[in-house]
């Protein structure tokens, strides 16, 4: 700590701070144009000049570059200092009369008007200065005018280490531009320069023919953007920010440590790597959920092409009070409220081209969304359905309620959503082309917004996960349960349970019920502490096993593992269900099913055939009884 006096105020400032920082922390205002916390001190705008008295000498210094040192006495607004600031403000005003930033700082120091003449005044000496300045404006800077604070250059070059911007020219010719004043591929279009520019003067398309692309927020279904460092979603567990290495400049250039430098508790570590952890557990519940059908696959519905066609999830986020629009239902422009909305059912489900199954939740979801639209807006809501399936408790009642509320149901599969109007009243609208099968008529419904009820699909990596867990997927890709009626939670692999939509499309109550069931099953096993295993299991005769590993991949229960040390395959008796596949497949005959050894099976056959061979012959129509069992007891 060093003790300094700023404007008569005694301040104990941390060593290493600049006078400007110390003054700001003490609540003393010093105007600046070129200072930024994330950038190294620059000392170019000179607005922050202060009078510093030390060891009996008083000098003018820029407070942004001057480190605090013991015994400094600083005056931030003496008449001399203000005289300089006023002149600087006049100079900057003459340079950028239109800039709001410059006008603000000029007003701050008490200057309204610059006394300097315009450069193109009658006294032109053809010095070319005005021409050069105009050219200076034309490279990457727009009409707002560059004040040459150098923040963009310092950020791009020194902090981000990209180096797409630099100063060119000297003196009055100085300008911020790209190498050779040409469009540059070096620019990563990160948009940092324009976001730091105090006058908002930088025009991106002049640096690289691309505008900076916002990073779409995954949680908000791309309706808003997020930063490369972000909290995945509200109430995330753990509720801390993550860094997206794909977009973070640090991982591209090695520069930019701004977040790390600014994190007071030093929680950010860019060097941290992904790690694979192995956790030994006795039970696994797979609750991997579902993916939404990619509605772009049905081009005639126009998703991705027509801006006001939304998916159900996008619409769901929009309706959410903590969502991107704060719960307001608006068109893609973010402002306009729709006057009519059409909800399209069965997009990608119940469709021979995509998925045959019914996604089960869409009918109720569309009813809920329709209800919300009518509640929040004055819009008319259509729903184009194939069949209404409100098939659980209270669902039908809700459907009836919506019928009463005036939601319009059109029975028929939508053929097309288009923005090509055929009639005047269709101009500027989306037209939903549908055959109303109740009326037996083609209809064109002009609406402002279309919501597609995309199908629930198995997770794209469900098969991979299933393979890892030793369970399999059905034809549609949903995980197969042990028994559809009697055991819908367990799988063919003991200790692996499934819950929720990974097993098949289901709504929240069903998912909750299945999840609870799976948890209870696991709980039961844990409480018991032991597991019952099948009496019939296969065993390997290790003397005869050649280690060919043919059996390993055949086992449907992942019960066989190859033991490299002994060069033999061994069967996990807990997992084995005694199906006998490996027994049949083993070329060396090294695997035998317990209770089903060749000798036992042979003996059984012998026993069966005993009567026939020894004591009589098969009579026509006679019932076959096992050995020793009288025929009449069957």
């Amino acid at each position: 700590m060093v003790n300094v006096v700023i404007d008569g105020k005694r301040i104990a400032a941390e060593e290493g701070l600049t006078v400007l920082e110390a003054a700001r922390r003490a609540g003393i205002h010093i105007p600046t144009l070129c200072h930024h916390e994330s950038l190294a001190p620059y000392g170019a705008c000179r607005f922050c000049i202060v009078e510093v008295t030390q060891r009996g000498k008083t000098r003018l210094m820029t407070s942004c570059t001057l480190p605090v040192s013991q015994g400094q006495e600083i005056q931030t607004a003496t008449e001399k200092v203000m005289r300089i600031r006023r002149m600087l403000a006049e100079l900057m005003l003459a340079r950028c009369p239109a800039s709001r930033t410059v006008r603000a700082i000029a007003a701050d120091v008490g200057v309204k008007k610059s006394r300097f003449r315009a450069l193109s005044d009658a006294v032109c000496q053809a010095c070319g200065a005005c021409e050069r300045r105009r050219n200076g404006l034309s490279t990457i800077v727009g009409e707002a005018g560059c004040i040459l604070c150098g923040m963009c250059v310092r950020l791009c070059d020194d902090v981000l280490k990209i180096g797409a911007l630099a100063f060119e020219g000297r003196g009055a010719n100085r300008q911020v531009t790209t190498p050779f004043r040409e469009m540059t591929e070096v620019c990563m279009v990160c948009g940092a320069c324009s976001s730091i520019c105090p006058t908002h003067a930088i025009e991106h398309h002049r640096i690289r023919p691309r505008e900076p692309q916002p990073i779409p927020s995954e949680f908000e279904e791309g309706l808003t953007s997020r930063k490369p460092i972000y909290v995945p979603f509200p109430q995330a567990v753990p509720n801390v920010p993550v860094i997206d290495p794909v977009h973070c400049t640090h991982f591209k250039t090695g520069g930019c440590n701004v977040c790390e430098d600014n994190c007071e508790v030093q929680a950010i570590n860019h060097a941290m790597q992904d790690e694979i952890r192995e956790i030994e557990v006795g039970n696994i519940i797979l609750a991997t959920g579902w993916d939404l059908f990619d509605c772009r696959r049905i081009p005639q519905y126009g998703y991705g092409r027509l801006p006001n066609v939304f998916t159900s999830l996008e619409f769901e986020r929009m309706c959410n009070a903590s969502g991107p629009t704060g719960g307001r239902i608006v068109l893609r422009d973010g402002v306009t409220e729709p006057k009519s909305v059409c909800i399209v059912h069965c997009v990608g489900s119940r469709d021979a081209h995509y998925n045959q199954y019914c996604s089960s939740i869409c009918c109720m979801l569309s009813l809920k969304l329709g209800h919300l639209v009518m509640e929040k807006t004055q819009a008319k809501v259509y729903a184009c359905y194939i069949d209404m399936r409100p098939n659980k408790k209270d669902y039908e009642e809700f459907y009836q309620r919506l019928l009463e509320e005036g939601m319009l149901f059109v029975r028929g599969k939508v053929a097309e959503v288009t923005d090509v109007a055929r009639f005047p009243h269709e101009e500027g609208k989306l037209i939903v082309q549908v055959e109303d099968t109740l009326l037996g008529k083609q209809r064109r419904i002009p609406v402002d917004m279309v919501v597609l009820m995309g199908a629930l699909e198995p997770r794209h990596d469900a098969r991979e996960i299933g393979l890892k867990a030793g369970i399999s997927c059905g034809a549609a890709g949903w995980f197969i349960e042990r028994h559809p009626k009697l055991d819908p939670v367990a799988t063919m692999t003991d200790g692996v349970f499934i819950a929720g939509a990974c097993q098949g499309p289901k709504d929240i109550p069903d998912s909750v019920a299945q999840g609870a069931a799976a948890a209870a099953r696991v709980q039961g096993l844990i409480t018991k502490g032991t597991v019952m295993i099948e009496p019939v299991v296969a065993t390997v005769d290790e003397q005869r096993c050649s280690g060919c590993r043919i059996c390993n991949n055949l086992c449907p229960f992942n019960a066989i593992a190859f033991v490299a040390d002994d060069a033999v395959s061994r069967i996990n008796a807990v997992l084995c269900k005694g199906c006998g596949t490996c027994v049949a497949a083993c070329p060396a005959g090294a695997i035998a099913g317990s209770h089903f050894a060749n000798e036992q099976v042979e003996a059984e056959i012998e026993g069966l055939l005993w009567d026939a061979h020894g004591n009589g012959s098969w009579a026509e129509g006679e019932e076959l009884a096992p050995a020793g069992v009288p025929n009449n007891e069957l």
Binding site: L33, P41, G43, A44, C45, R46, F47, I49, L60, M61, T62, T65, L66, P67, K80, R83, I84, M87, L88, L91, M92, A94, R95, R115, F116, R117, L119, A122, V123, Q125, C127, A129, L148, G150, A166, F167, G169, R170, G171, A172, N173, R174
Partner: protein, 647 residues
């Protein structure tokens, strides 16, 4: 050791043809080798030496062809090494370049033509006779100058730095060693500890010759004290001032003196690497200094374990970044690092964190060149020359000599080396021979483009760092531009501001915007469009630029404006109030008319006028058409009876 100061010395020390010379030692491996080598060199001396100055200026005036002719002619005489042609650097007297001097008699032939060479060789070289018709007649006294000792330009100077230029071929390290070069280095290695070197330099009172006048010893001491794994010494040869060329003269004439100074400095500071930052626009200086460094390295005066003392040091040459501001210390270091030459705030001094954030000592060419002299002759000898007393306070005076580039409207132009404390009058009227063409002296600008303009009342002021700053100017790099009555002070200030506007790096607001605006106001004044308010705005702005700029370029840039406003206020008033330019320079404010009474109708003006603005019959008074006249002033210059009136 012996200094070369008289023609007898010259005769004693003059050498052989460079090509004939063979190093018996080849490589100087221990301290004693230097003296042994020198003794060897001194034994072999030709009888006659033909000196030709071939600095950049001499080359521009045809020194190369002169040298070719001389070589041919000397070869013709079959002198077998009795005659040596010594191609030196700049000899300082610009009006006479290229100069040919024939020693031992010292015949001084200014600007001889190629066809004069055979006669010079036949008579002066072979027979020691003068060629009378080629001697110079002094512009001021009208006397014939026959030998180098009679040259009035040299007579009033104290040439402790520059005299060696006569004795040295800059490409020959042997020449330098023969006249005692590198003896200071040997002395330092043999007798002095690094602290003693710094103490000696501090005691001498040497202050930075780049212009700011920071005591060299003090700078070295703080660099020695600074913590750093390695340290640098840098020679600033980025002499960007228009009209100043003293550093070039030294580097092109005697590069080894700078190198020796740098090695001594590095030893004192504890540096192991040096840079010579030379302006790119000085190709000859770059070439010669690089060659000199190569030679020094070749014979073992640079590199690892120099002369078996355990001290290692080497120098690299770095060509300048092509900007005036690159001469500023922090900008220069940024430029060496490969970044654009832009200054930074110097709250942390470069002696602590300079080049690549390591302690660095930056000194001007002239400062470095003074070091061997101080070591050899002692601090006391050096401190005798100059003003003030530095025994207590290193800022207490200005010591030693200073080289000025005396240019402008003066009779004898060139590099003058004078002791500190000499008056401007002695330099301009004594050495320079007064204002050219018999015109009246008006002012002199010292210290380059951002120096101030001093008026007649300052002529008797002693020149030293502090006096110049006191009157609003500065020592700068030693430019001295003399102005006569035909110079408009507003136009003059405008000219230099134009230069500075162009050379401002543009980083800080006051310098970038302020100079451009000052220039704009001056343009208005020169056009007669300015008001009194503009004048006060100009003064206000100039003061802010002076106070608030980031580096010395900005803080000194208003000097020409402020000093001309202070010492020549009447000229500004004439421009603003009366819309007149008293010196007749600002075109918008002057008109040319023909006095019909005086005009003889000779038609000369009409014939010379490039824009056909003069009309009139022969033998009849002529008339200038104001709408066509471009005010070029040709008619005014050609009119013999003085009938053209400039108003």
């Amino acid at each position: 050791m012996t200094r070369v100061s008289t023609p007898e010395d010259v005769a004693r020390f003059s050498g052989h043809y460079r090509q004939d010379l063979e190093l018996s030692a080849g490589y100087l491996s221990i301290l004693e080798d230097v003296a042994r080598f020198r003794a060897e060199l001194c034994q072999r001396q030709p009888e006659t030496v033909v000196l030709v100055s071939r600095g950049t200026c001499g080359r521009a005036r045809g020194a190369d062809s002169l040298i070719r002719t001389l070589e041919k002619e000397i070869a013709r005489t079959e002198s077998n090494g009795r005659v040596r042609l010594r191609i030196t650097g700049c000899l300082g007297y610009c009006d006479c370049e290229p100069i040919v001097i024939i020693r031992p008699r010292g015949y001084f032939y200014p600007r001889p033509k190629d066809e004069d060479i055979p006669e010079i060789v036949d008579k002066s070289v072979m027979r020691g006779e003068p060629v009378e018709r080629l001697f110079m007649k002094d512009v001021v006294t009208g006397q014939i100058v026959r030998t180098e000792n009679e040259v009035p330009f040299y007579q009033n100077q104290i040439r402790i730095l520059f005299e060696s230029n006569f004795e040295i071929d800059p490409t020959s390290i042997e020449d330098y060693i023969r006249i005692g070069g590198y003896s200071a280095l040997v002395k330092v290695f043999r007798e002095m500890k690094p602290e003693q070197v710094i103490e000696e330099v501090t005691r001498s009172g040497l202050r930075g010759r780049g212009g700011a006048g920071f005591p060299t010893g003090v700078k070295w001491a703080s660099c020695r004290k600074a913590q750093g794994e390695s340290k640098y010494v840098i020679c600033n040869a980025d002499e960007g001032d228009p009209g100043a060329y003293a550093n070039r003269g030294l580097l092109e004439g005697n590069p080894h003196s700078v190198i020796e100074g740098m090695i001594i400095g590095a030893y004192g500071i504890g540096a192991d690497e040096g840079y010579v930052y030379v302006r790119t626009e000085y190709p000859l200086a770059v070439e010669l200094v690089a060659k000199a460094i190569g030679e020094a390295r070749r014979i073992g005066l640079l590199g690892k374990n120099i002369l078996d003392t355990g001290f290692s040091f080497d120098i690299k040459v770095n060509r300048g970044g092509g900007a005036f501001v690159c001469g500023e210390s922090t900008a220069l270091m940024a430029s060496i690092e490969g970044r654009p030459g832009e200054p930074r705030a110097k709250h942390i001094h470069t002696v602590e964190k300079g080049l690549w954030d390591r302690p660095s000592t930056l000194n001007n060419v002239e400062t470095w060149a003074n070091i061997p002299l101080i070591i050899n002759r002692g601090a006391d000898w050096f401190a005798q020359i100059g003003t003030g007393d530095v025994s207590q306070n290193p800022w207490g005076g200005s010591k030693g000599t200073k080289i000025f580039s005396l240019v402008g409207k003066v009779n004898r132009t060139g590099l003058v080396e004078v002791p500190m404390g000499i008056s401007l009058r002695e330099v301009i009227f004594g050495i320079g021979g007064g204002v050219a063409d018999g015109k009246k002296f008006k002012g002199v600008q010292t210290g380059g483009p951002s120096g101030g303009v001093l008026s007649e009342k300052h002529l008797d002021m002693p020149i030293d760092y502090d006096q110049l700053v006191e009157v609003g100017s500065m020592m700068g790099s030693g430019g001295m531009i003399v102005m006569d009555e035909n110079t408009c002070m507003v136009d003059f200030a405008r000219f230099f501001l134009g230069f500075l506007e162009d050379e401002s790096c543009g980083k800080c607001t006051p310098c970038r915007e302020g100079i451009a605006r000052m220039l704009q106001i001056l343009n208005c004044i020169c056009q007669g469009e300015a008001s009194e308010a503009d004048l006060s705005l100009l003064k206000e702005l100039a003061e802010v630029v002076q106070e608030a700029s980031l580096c010395q370029l900005g803080t000194t840039a208003p000097n020409p404006v402020l000093t001309t406003m202070q010492y020549f206020p009447e000229e500004y008033e004439a421009h603003v109030r009366n819309h007149k330019c008293p010196a007749g320079v600002c075109k918008r404010l002057i008109t040319f008319t023909i006095d019909a009474d005086k005009c003889t109708g000779c038609t000369l003006c009409a014939k010379s006028c490039p824009s056909d603005a003069v009309e009139g019959e022969a033998k009849q008074p002529h008339r200038i058409l104001p709408e066509k006249c471009t005010k070029c002033g040709i008619c005014y210059d050609v009119c013999k009876p003085g009938a053209v009136v400039r108003d």
